[in-house]
Amino acid sequence: MSSLRSAFVSLSVMLLGAACASAADQTPPPSAAPAAAAVKPDSRSPGERLYARHCLPCHQSDGYGVPDMQPAITGGSWVKGDPKALALFVMTGGFGSAQRKDSANGNVMPEFRPLPDADLAEILTYIRAKFGGGGSPVSAADVTAARADLPK
């Protein structure tokens, strides 16, 4: 009985593979993305690349987030406001959103304080330009200055 069951599980897994292949119109085969990347040089700015790595999986490529899951960056007050306040917001994970259970539904934001100042500056510059209505660039020195105000 149990060997029959495990045989079935492996069958299901094999069939799953087949089903994924047949759904290729939706999901490119695993080889597609790296191959394309190898042929085409990455033309993205450092800020866009870092955004894709650290922020995009939750806030999405358009910065609008996902309803009920992650809030929008686009159109929000933080991205349009004071760069130092924005740097603090990002480094503290939205000022400790993980601890706030009374706010709207959705996932917590991690703290980005471990990132180097230069990387944070690139990300903030990118999101202010793209999602903040063309805000001014943020320098690594701005982030360094903001870091001094982080809670210990």
Binding site: R5, S6, F8, V9, S10, S12, V13, M14, L15, L16, A18, A19, C20, A23, Q26, T27, P28, P30, A33, P34, A52, R53, H54, L56, P57, C58, Q60, S61, D62, Y64, G65, V66, P67, M69, Q70, G93, A98, R100, K101, D102, S103, A104, N105, G106, N107, V108, M109, P110, E111, P114
Partner: protein, 416 residues
């Protein structure tokens, strides 16, 4: 089969081209949904907001749970469209079920019921609390539930965490061991659904290691509980040395299980990797992408569905009007991914899982697709529709509810 569909579509196109109707109108024939041959989708309700689960009463009345509250609907002239819509009650949530003349509903913190009199569309009775007092949480909070014929109430208590890290969703943060959340969350708790005014303390933990099981259903023919469990997010951003974005988009299964008393399904310590076809230790708990938990510690899924598809409802087909292959099989509504980005999002479909005697009897089949449309910017917020709720009507047709606009479709079958 595919050829048949193609021929049908072409002949229909020709007929409509003659009549001066565009291809858009043909797509609108099933409201843009694609279905197997013989099936037709019609719009029962255009949209009432953020729909969740729904149930159809023996007299055909429709009850929808939504983020905006509960709604009762009736098709008075039997033309297939709802023409009486009555909001009722004060519960904003996901689950709604009928049990012995009661309408059971839930929100993030409790399960409630309304007595439903025969012939009554919206219940006029006062709300009774079956169980309340679950802690208010921000994630995986919907208290979806199932009821068995005796009234045993099985409540999904999702874990308010991705993977029980010391710091939730923080890169490199390790898992708490043992995970303290499992004492109150991350499993199924049972209550007596016939009793009122219970608290979580009156419940018994029935099964554990379940991150979030929005899709939960009691199978009366098999006398067993089943669930499709949401797998974990973000293996790449949390552990970039071990996994890349493509791994995260494709490897962590959405797991279909029979849920047994005392069962442990592995969260947060392990997850089922669809690429390797086996359960592996989560990186938060010392996983190296290949290390396995002790043999037999956690059951393998009956079926491993693709990562992040978001199974949000499960229904065993008990109707009579669909072909024989559907009898006893399962429909699963996949709400669609967000955590596949920057890879293409996926899911957003209703899947049929053939089953025999409570076990999968073949590969799953995409039953209804085309909900999401083009979905600009690869962002779920731009999906046209997202299937989230399933119900069978007395005539055997399948109803599907959507969370983007609250649209409801009726899918019926006529032998082609």
């Amino acid at each position: 089969m595919r050829t048949t569909t193609f021929v049908r579509v072409v002949s229909l196109s020709l007929a409509m081209a003659v009549a001066g109707v565009t291809d858009v109108a043909i797509a609108a024939d099933n409201d843009g949904l694609t279905l197997p041959p013989g099936f037709t989708a019609t719009v029962v309700q255009e949209g009432l907001g953020a729909g969740r689960h729904l149930v159809i009463a023996p007299d055909g009345d429709i009850y929808l749970a939504s983020r905006n509250g509960l709604v009762a609907m009736r098709d008075k002239d039997h033309d297939g469209k709802v023409d009486e819509t009555v909001p009722f009650g004060d519960v904003q949530g996901t689950e709604v079920r009928l049990y012995k003349g009661w309408l059971y509903v839930s929100d993030d913190v409790g399960v409630y019921r309304y007595a439903l009199k025969k012939g009554e569309l919206a219940p006029k009775s006062a709300k009774e609390t079956v169980v309340a007092g679950f802690p208010k949480e921000r994630q995986h909070a919907d208290k979806t539930f199932a009821l068995d014929p005796k009234g045993t109430l099985y409540v999904n208590v999702g874990a308010p965490s991705n993977s029980c890290q010391e710091k939730d969703r923080q890169e490199g943060s390790m898992g708490q061991n043992p995970c303290p959340l499992l004492e109150k969350y991350g499993g199924v708790w049972v209550f007596d659904g016939n009793k009122v005014n219970q608290t979580p303390a009156n419940g018994r933990r029935f099964a554990t290691g379940m991150r979030n099981s929005v899709a939960i259903e009691y199978n009366e023919a098999q006398h067993a509980l089943f669930a499709v469990i949401h797998g974990r997010d973000s293996i790449d951003t949390l552990f970039p040395a071990l996994y890349n974005a493509q791994d995260n988009a494709t490897r962590q299964a959405e797991e279909f299980h029979q849920i047994n008393d005392g069962g442990d399904y592995g969260w947060p310590y392990a997850f089922f990797d669809t690429k390797l076809g086996k359960r592996v230790i989560a990186p938060e708990y010392g996983g190296d992408t290949n290390k396995e938990p002790p043999a037999g510690k956690y059951p393998n899924p009956l079926v491993a569905y693709p990562a992040h598809w978001a199974p949000n409802d499960l229904l065993f087909y008990s109707g009579k009007s669909f072909p024989a292959q559907y009898q006893g099989g399962a429909f699963i509504a996949f709400h669609g991914s967000w955590n596949r980005a920057p890879e293409p999002q996926a899911g957003y479909k209703v899947v049929f899982q053939p089953m025999k005697d409570g076990k999968p009897s073949g590969d799953y089949q995409v039953f209804a697709d085309g909900f999401a449309g083009d979905m600009p910017d690869n962002n779920p917020r731009n999906a046209r529709y997202r299937p989230v709720g399933l119900a069978v009507a007395p005539d055997g047709s399948l109803y599907v509810a959507d969370s983007q606009k609250g649209r409801i479709w009726r899918i019926s079958y006529q032998k082609p």
